[in-house]
């Protein structure tokens, strides 16, 4: 009997699923070596089928998306119970990613923004309710938590695979590894490891030349023309997140001529990604007076979005456990 495989999306965009499909023919290896038992985006399945499975009966679960509502949490706990290996897959599950930026706003504001802004036509002021009575009975929709949490703030996680989304060649390498493990040809890394990524930073893979940095002005990429194609992007005054971001993507963005936005998350051993980055940016500005410092830093109009774009929910400043009711 083939080992069982599952993949789930919680609060995410679906890009992670596409990245898996982007492994092209490698996906056939998954099918050849695993029995896919649960993968909502690819096949029909019911939660109750998963609930009926034996504990620990799924060998490998790739879980993408953060925990935004009680449905996400329920499935996270369920899959943890049923899986031998639970992989926190992609930036949302690992550190909250873009959905995690909503942690800056109260839930009421988020709903208000989504259902009643200038771009949303909602003349009857209809807002989603968690329960609704219909002739057939009571309907439930998931309840939003006050914050989004990365997977490991809710359940125990075996491995982390960063990226928004993870690079397909990295996914293929991980699939290969797991197949080898199944065949007894390789060993699993220690629990808690980050897989499918490097242990250094994007700069390590970036071919651009670097000098001692002294920045007089932070600019946006459209304000530089032409950009030097071989010189460090940060040195050209564009806040590039590469220096603090985990390697593994082959420095895709800098190689394509744009700044790293940090989707691979903090480098090995970095406790708080945003704090690292903002101290690094502050360190390279070339100023002597407080006014000058202010002026240069004004060139980063949204510091939180710049340095915590992917990592806010997973940062050291993560929401306190008291900020929401944890269902036990």
């Amino acid at each position: 009997m083939k080992p069982k495989f599952a993949m789930y999306w919680a609060a995410s965009c679906g890009g992670c699923e596409i990245a898996v499909l982007n492994t092209h023919e490698k996906i056939l290896d998954v099918d050849a070596n695993f029995e896919v038992v649960f993968w909502p985006v690819a096949m029909d399945a019911k939660y109750k089928d998963v609930e009926a499975m034996e504990d620990g009966s799924i060998l490998l679960t790739l879980f993408n998306g953060g925990i935004r509502n009680d449905e996400n949490e329920h499935i996270a706990r369920l899959l943890r119970q049923k899986s031998k290996i639970l992989v926190s897959f992609g930036s949302c599950a690992c550190e909250g990613c873009i959905p995690g930026l909503a942690n800056l706003s109260p839930v009421g504001d988020i709903v208000q923004t989504a259902f009643n802004t200038i771009t949303t036509d909602n003349p009857h002021e209809i807002y989603p309710q968690t329960t609704y009575d219909v002739p057939e009975g009571e309907l439930h929709i998931p309840k939003l938590f006050s914050v989004l949490r990365p997977l490991d703030q809710v359940v125990d996680v075996d491995y982390y695979m960063p990226g928004c989304p993870p690079e397909s060649h990295q996914i293929a390498a991980v699939i290969d590894l797991v197949i080898k493990v199944v065949k007894g040809e390789a060993q699993l890394p220690p629990k808690g490891s980050t897989i499918g990524a490097g242990d250094s930073t994007v700069c390590d893979e970036c071919p651009r030349s670097r000098n001692v940095k002294l920045i007089k002005e932070f600019k946006r990429i459209q304000d530089i023309a032409p950009m030097d194609p071989t010189l460090c992007i940060l040195e050209q005054g564009i806040p590039c997140n590469g220096p603090a971001t985990r390697s593994g993507c082959n420095a895709r963005c800098p190689q394509a001529g744009t700044q790293c936005i940090g989707c691979y998350g903090p480098a090995e051993g970095v406790m708080d990604y945003g704090a690292r980055l903002i101290t690094a940016f502050s360190s390279v500005i070339d100023a002597t007076t407080p006014e000058e410092i202010e002026h240069i830093l004004d060139g980063i109009p949204d510091p939180t979005g710049q340095v915590y774009r992917f990592n806010l929910a997973g940062s050291l400043l993560k929401a306190s456990a008291n900020a929401f009711k944890v269902k036990e």
């Binding site: 991980v174 890394p189 490097g198 242990d199 250094s200 893979e205 220096p243 390697s247």
Partner: protein, 681 residues
């Protein structure tokens, strides 16, 4: 780029079995300093119970932990209970960290395995509610316990001390300091911004209370400093950069172009005599007299070489003149001279940068700058000086009229919430000295307007009595206004001083011919930048901050940097001289130790994690970071690293860590403070 670094497996964390440390916690009462606000018995008991699972094997409280009995208590426990970590909950580490670390060392424990939890400065002294303070003390202790477990044993580093000393500022405090060190046989670089040493004291006529001639007692010291074989005098020079640390400072000094070759100049003064350009002397003569474009500020200047004022020299402005060059008998004038950068290495630095006089224009109701016969204290010093612009004749601004009535206003700019809150110390005695001089030289009626009379020093009050007996009139009250708007016939053509006489209990208008403002002292306009350059801080008033206001008044928080004279705060000449000498004793102490012990706090780069982004490369104030081109990584030279932590914070990859301040230590301390590491209930 190759794929080699992006292997699919990477260790996120390697859970290593932690050895349980044996921690001793010692809570100090500090008499009632701590015990008055914190329930120290409860804190010790709590630590023994709630932090037991972390390794706390003993928790005691004691009246004075820093006493020899207190220290012995810790030493005994280290030996008998086999403690591997010690937390002393007492005062700030600034006070007794060294005491307890040395005690631990003597008991065989590495001194860096001892942590101080500050429950005095950070708890008992800042709280009044005992319940709250006790709870906070527990949190601070819990933080220290969590942290100390992460501490690693470190070895102290010893480096030799450079025996040379830099003294910045050639006023009386700096001169005194330089002479003491030079006389002890060690070399001193004495740097002065102006063309001559001497400072403010060289501008005074008489000194209070003895009425010694200021120049007569100062100039021998100036000459001694100028000719001393152990003193290199660098006047017309500025310190532009300082790096390094105690024992090994590297200093760059800019020697401004004098346009006079010091090797050839004999100081004969012919150039000054022949120079056709007269300039108002704003510095030495306080704007009351003239100097030439090439000049020495005063006759007894040390060194005696003139400087050329490029802004005002006709040759530099129009390209012709060169009168000085034509008449110079030794060919010493050199119009092509350029600023020179001189690098010196020194072991210690004494800052004697002095003060600026409070700008009396700021008190607009006293009319200085608007009413011609209102003078500042420095102007009066020049006016009464025999070598000054009026040859010592005390006259009005017209240069000839002797005043019949003179008002002297104390506390100008001082003890005033609109200007400076502090007392400038010298103004009362200065005002009394002025009263005496006016009386003696002109026979005028003198009024002194004071808030409080402060004559607290040896022979000072006796001088006050003397001035009283001479017939000076004293009015106790803060002057509201000095005006020339006469209300009566008798006030016409006079300056009228409007004041509330608080002793007589009435408003008075006193017409006088001359008003002297006894202006206060304030920090140098550039004290903040100078402090930054030398790595020391300024108080809110702007004076340099001493290490301890009572017990360490000339040292600073930066080891090897000392502050003397008015740079540290307003003071008179005897105190400045005493401080100059005191700092020298501290410097000689350091020099004679021959080596200095440095904290083994150093940063290092994990080459595996470093991606060579070069963010840190420009950061190091000690130039300790180099980039290894072959490996494409940055590296720190431990001999140069001073452990400031700048690069540790800057490294975006978290590849740099600092001993003594590792992430593990800091996070553990935060967890401890937040009481996350308590014994599970």
């Amino acid at each position: 780029m190759s794929d080699t670094r992006s292997n699919p497996v990477d260790k996120r964390s390697s859970p290593v079995e932690k050895k349980i440390e044996r921690v001793g916690v010692y809570v100090c009462h500090c008499g009632s300093n701590i015990a008055g606000t914190v329930d120290v018995v409860d804190v010790a008991k709590w630590a023994g119970e709630k932090l037991k699972h972390q390794g706390v094997v003993v928790a005691r409280e004691y009246k004075f932990m820093c006493s020899s009995l207190g220290q012995e208590l810790i030493q005994k426990d280290i030996k008998e209970l086999g403690l591997t970590r010690v937390v002393v909950a007492a005062c700030s580490p600034h006070l007794h960290e060294k005491t307890f670390r040395t005690a631990a060392k003597n008991a065989g424990l590495n001194p860096y395995l001892v942590e101080l939890a500050s429950i005095r400065e950070q708890v008992s002294w800042v709280h009044s509610d005992k319940t709250v303070a006790t709870a906070k003390a527990k949190a601070v202790v819990a933080g220290a316990v969590s942290r100390v477990i992460e501490n690693r044993p470190l070895d102290e580093i010893k480096v030799p001390i450079n025996p040379n000393t830099l003294v910045v500022g050639g006023g009386i405090a700096g001169i005194q300091s330089a002479l003491e060190i030079a006389n002890a046989g060690f070399h001193v670089y004495l740097v002065e911004r102006e063309p001559s040493i001497g400072g403010h004291m060289a501008q005074f006529d008489k000194t209070f209370p003895t009425l010694d001639c200021s120049a007569c007692i100062l100039t021998p010291r100036m000459v001694e400093a100028g000719t001393h074989p152990n003193i290199t005098l660098l006047t017309w020079s500025d310190v532009v950069n300082v790096s390094g640390y105690v024992g090994n400072f590297h200093v760059t000094i800019k020697k401004k172009a004098r346009f006079v070759n010091e090797e050839l100049c004999t100081g004969c003064g012919i150039c000054q005599e022949k120079c056709p350009k007269k300039v108002i002397d704003e510095v030495y003569e306080a704007g009351l007299g003239y100097r030439k474009a090439v000049y020495t500020p005063f006759a007894q200047a040390v060194p005696n070489f003139p400087v050329m004022d490029k802004e005002n020299c006709t040759y530099f402005i129009k390209g012709t003149c060169k009168a000085c060059e034509k008449f110079c008998p030794t060919g010493a004038i050199d119009f092509k001279q350029e600023d020179q950068l001189i690098n010196v290495d020194v072991g210690n630095i004494v800052l004697a940068t002095g003060y600026d006089l409070f700008d009396a224009r700021r008190v607009s109701n006293y009319g200085y700058g608007r009413l011609p016969n209102v003078f500042t204290s420095l102007e009066f010093e020049r006016l009464s000086n025999a070598a000054g612009p009026t040859s010592g004749n005390i006259v009005l601004r017209d240069g000839k009229t002797t005043p019949k009535n003179v008002g002297i206003i104390h506390c100008v700019g001082s003890r005033d919430k609109n200007f400076n809150n502090y007392c400038s110390v010298i103004c009362c005695m200065q005002g009394l000295k002025f009263a005496h001089l006016v009386h003696e030289r002109t026979g005028a009626t003198v009024y002194n307007f004071y808030i409080d009379m402060r004559t607290a020093y040896k022979a000072y009050d006796e001088f006050y009595q003397r001035v009283l007996e001479e017939g000076t009139l004293f009015v106790r009250g803060k002057v509201a206004e000095v005006t020339n708007a006469a209300r009566r016939e008798s006030e016409k053509g006079k300056l009228i001083i409007q004041v509330e006489d608080t002793l007589a209990g009435k408003q008075r208008r006193i017409p006088v011919d001359m008003v002297i403002l006894s202006s206060g002292l304030q920090p140098r306009y550039d004290a903040k930048e100078v402090g930054k350059m030398f790595g020391i801080s300024c108080s809110t008033d702007g004076w340099f901050t001493e290490k301890h206001p009572k017990l360490d008044p000339v040292a600073t928080m930066t080891e090897g940097i000392y502050i003397v004279g008015c740079a540290q705060g307003p003071k008179d000449i005897p105190s400045s001289v005493a401080q100059g000498a005191a700092a020298s004793a501290r410097v000689l102490d350091k020099i004679l130790q021959k080596e200095v012990t440095l904290e083994p706090i150093k940063a290092s780069v994990d080459h595996e994690k470093c991606s060579g982004c070069k963010v840190c490369n420009g950061m190091c104030p000690f130039n300790a970071i180099a980039f290894i081109e072959d490996d494409k990584v940055s590296d720190i030279n431990p001999a140069l690293c001073q452990g400031c932590g700048t690069c540790v914070a800057a490294c975006p990859a978290g590849a740099i860590s600092g001993t003594g301040f590792s992430d593990a230590q800091i996070i553990a301390q935060i967890d401890g403070l937040l009481l996350r590491n308590l014994e599970p209930a």
